[in-house]
Symmetry: C2
Subunit: 153 residues, 2 copies
């Protein structure tokens, strides 16, 4: 059994134990979430599942995400200007590298985050329980494109 399959089973079990039911739509949404390393938006999820569920509703996607949020089984990256992005493969806070050109999101290794959180807790007196670490820039592909464009000029 591979990691996504385990993860899917864990999510289903968690939803069930919280009294949620597993409809075909919901199962498909969960399945797609764990298999998508690209941190999809609700809209993206919806569009990708439409071929399989021709009258799927965006509301259903949002409601499923809400259930996952309530269970702590999904990480929501909020943006006020664009759609929120979701990470259900690894629902605990971790850093992200976000491409400003194409919107790609990568999950880099996170050395030293805990130490930083501890230092900030001591400096401010806050009791820190969670965090959000986003690094913005250009992904390798967009960086290459930009370099080529500059060479041409």
């Amino acid at each position: 059994m591979d990691a996504p399959t385990d993860r899917l089973a864990a999510m289903v079990a968690r939803l069930r134990e919280r009294g949620h039911r597993i409809s075909p739509q919901r199962l498909a949404i969960l399945g797609h979430l764990v298999e998508s390393p690209d941190h999809p938006t609700a809209e993206t999820l919806y569009r990708r599942l439409l071929p399989r569920f021709p009258d799927l509703s965006l509301a259903t996607v949002y409601k499923t995400i809400a259930a996952l949020k309530a269970c702590g089984e999904i990480l929501e990256l909020q943006f006020s200007g664009q759609d929120n992005r979701y990470d259900a493969a690894c629902p605990t806070p971790h850093p992200h590298c976000i491409c400003l050109a194409c919107g790609a999101i990568a999950d880099p290794p996170a050395p030293g985050v805990q130490a930083m959180a501890k230092a900030l807790a001591e400096a401010t007196g806050y009791a820190i329980t969670s965090h959000r670490l986003d690094f913005y820039g250009l992904c390798p592909a967009c960086r290459r494109k930009r370099e080529q464009r500059q060479e041409r000029e």
Copy 2:
């Protein structure tokens, strides 16, 4: 001349050199931004200035913020569920500690952020230009309240 006054002058100068005009409303918004260490929302700014400008419009606040954003003179912390928060006192990216109970935002010292950004750039191939570091938890006051409530139970 104290720091907020300097900062205000710098913001005015920057807006002017970009061709913007300084109306009394705009000056008041800027003034309030540099004096507010609490990272206000557009709505908060609006409510605080209403006594001085009884027919101030929220649109004017947003338009002024937009001008500041275009000049790189304000840091916008986006939230999709709540109002965005603004920091014009220090418009370059820096960590924030955000209280989940009362919404307070503190500016802790930031040791090691650059090192982390560099490590992530190397690990992912991203060209990192900016970042957002939010730590969520309870501020000292809300932590105290919660402890007292637990003692009573």
